[in-house]
């Protein structure tokens, strides 16, 4: 009688120290993750020609500088073209292969499944270095095409991986129903399979685009004066001067990526992206 009177309030009063401790740890961790990025955004609005605190004033001159310094804009356009182009090629190569690998139980399919995922584990600098000699030997050399080929090699595993995961989780019933009802192979693919695996294709392509935009170790082997990607241009700029224009172009690049993610979140949901 007394025990039941005493127990409940005592339990309620005891705070969960572990949850609080972990919560503080998480806040500290988030600060560590976001602080340097926030610092770059702040510096991009500086009016000074050098990077120092306290900042003398605010201005948008470094955003204007992005447009004055042609290589920034030119290379941003090349970067976007390469990212989207390589993701599109990655879909063309990766999706049909993944659809077969996911359903086939032969050892050949297992081997090809490993081949599709292999480029993820090859260090980008090694892939770039090795591809450079091959592409030069077959006459592609350093060019836009070389950038596109090398980025496609890296896009394939990211797209195949999510498509494999999504398609393996689907029972074959839908496609069977379509075929029983008289649909041809192409009709089944177009009207049944592709709509079902679309989240996988979308998520994989987004990964591929983001990886491509930042893939300096791969890009720096293939850049020419006409076609360089943004990270390569930023690196060479940074090595000669330390002014806030790098901060401004970084902020613009981040805004593009964040917008893409928010659009994706609104259409597909952010949770489904990390599930695979």
């Amino acid at each position: 009688m007394t025990a039941s009177h005493v127990n409940p309030p005592r339990r309620r009063r005891r705070p969960d120290y572990l949850a609080w401790g972990l919560g503080i740890w998480v806040v500290a961790f988030m600060t560590f993750l976001l602080f340097p990025i926030a610092a770059v955004v702040v510096v991009s609005f500086s009016s000074a020609t050098y990077i120092a605190f306290p900042m003398p004033g605010l201005s948008l001159r470094w955003y204007a500088r992005i447009f004055e310094y042609r290589p920034f804009i030119d290379s941003l356009i090349v970067s976007l073209q390469i990212a989207i182009g390589s993701a599109a090629l990655g879909i063309l190569f990766g999706v049909p292969a993944a659809l077969w690998v996911a359903r086939s139980k032969t050892s050949a399919a297992a081997l090809i499944g490993n081949l599709l995922l292999a480029p993820i584990s090859v260090p980008a600098i090694v892939l770039g270095f090795s591809l450079l000699y091959l592409l030069s030997a077959i006459g592609v050399g350093i060019s836009f095409a070389a950038l596109l080929i090398s980025h496609t090699v890296v896009a394939i595993p990211y797209i195949s991986r999510t498509v494999l995961a999504v398609y393996r989780a689907l029972p074959p019933d839908f496609e069977e129903a379509a075929s029983v009802l008289g649909a041809t192979r192409w009709q089944t693919l177009y009207h049944t399979t592709l709509p079902l695996v679309r989240p996988g294709i979308f998520a994989g392509s987004l990964f591929a685009v983001l990886i491509s935009l930042d893939n300096l170790p791969l890009s720096f082997f293939f850049g020419t004066a006409q076609s360089n990607t943004l990270p390569v241009v930023m690196l060479s700029y940074m090595q000669s001067q330390f002014d806030p224009s790098i901060a401004a172009i970084s902020t613009v690049q981040m805004l593009i990526a964040v917008t893409a993610l928010l659009v994706l979140n609104a259409t597909y949901g952010i949770d489904r992206l990390t599930a695979a």
Binding site: P36, R103, P123, L131, I149
Partner: protein, 296 residues
Amino acid sequence: MSMQTLTSLSASPPAQSKRNRFRLATGSWALPAVLFLVAFLIVPLVANAFRSVTLGEAALNPWAYYEKLLLDSYYSGIFFTTFKVSLVTTLCTLVLGYPVAYFMVRYAGRWNALILFCMIAPLLTSIIMRTFGWRVLLARRGLINVWATDLGIISRPLDILNDPLVVYIGLVHVMAPFMVLSITAVLQGVDVRLEESARVLGANRWRTFRHITLPLSLDGIATGCMLVFVITNGSFLTMLLLGGGKVQTLSLLIYQQFNLTQDVGFAAAMGNVLLISAMVCVALQTRFVRRRGVKA
């Protein structure tokens, strides 16, 4: 959780696999991808391995560059620094990231989406931006030095930026989200009732963690560790831009060899060593995760 188990059970009952089920794709659908990857992944990597034992100094002794890499004290130092840097980064991200992953899965609730967004946001910025951020913070007239002098913690600005420690900070900063996301993916599948049972049966929090949660999340830890280790092994930007170039690793050396000395054979050999170490890591990880999968 129980729903997940149910659907995964119903997805592959053994009775169904005996029937000849409809298959949309045929083997030929994989042909373009296979041809493309053989031409632009396998052939160049094999050719690279071949170059490392035939070009330059290797023309006389095929293993010349590998011997140089392992026996010459300067290069073997770089070789070991590379693995030390990757190992330290992996351990730091694990120790920092595991509690975060645990909080996200067990406590975050409605905050989870916000934490997840903050975790993914850095992945949307270029590595150049994140590295540049540390330079902004740690430069002689950077934010940290200015604040520390204003508060009277230090009398004059310190040269933190050129300290090798900054390379580790930069790498942990870049790699930590990969570790956290790998662990949360696995922790999400660990049934919370197992932890509750252990608690009810009298285990304290530490024992519950050691004997229940930790063993069940080993797959996520293994995946995260291998991912971070392999990516760190292959990155050179952080070493190039932070720490005053004092931390020399294989990838940075390949970059420099390519830009300055153009010693193709040697760069090929170093690339091959990086490639082999990455393959060993992946093989270890697949074997480790598969064996555990059978047990569970």
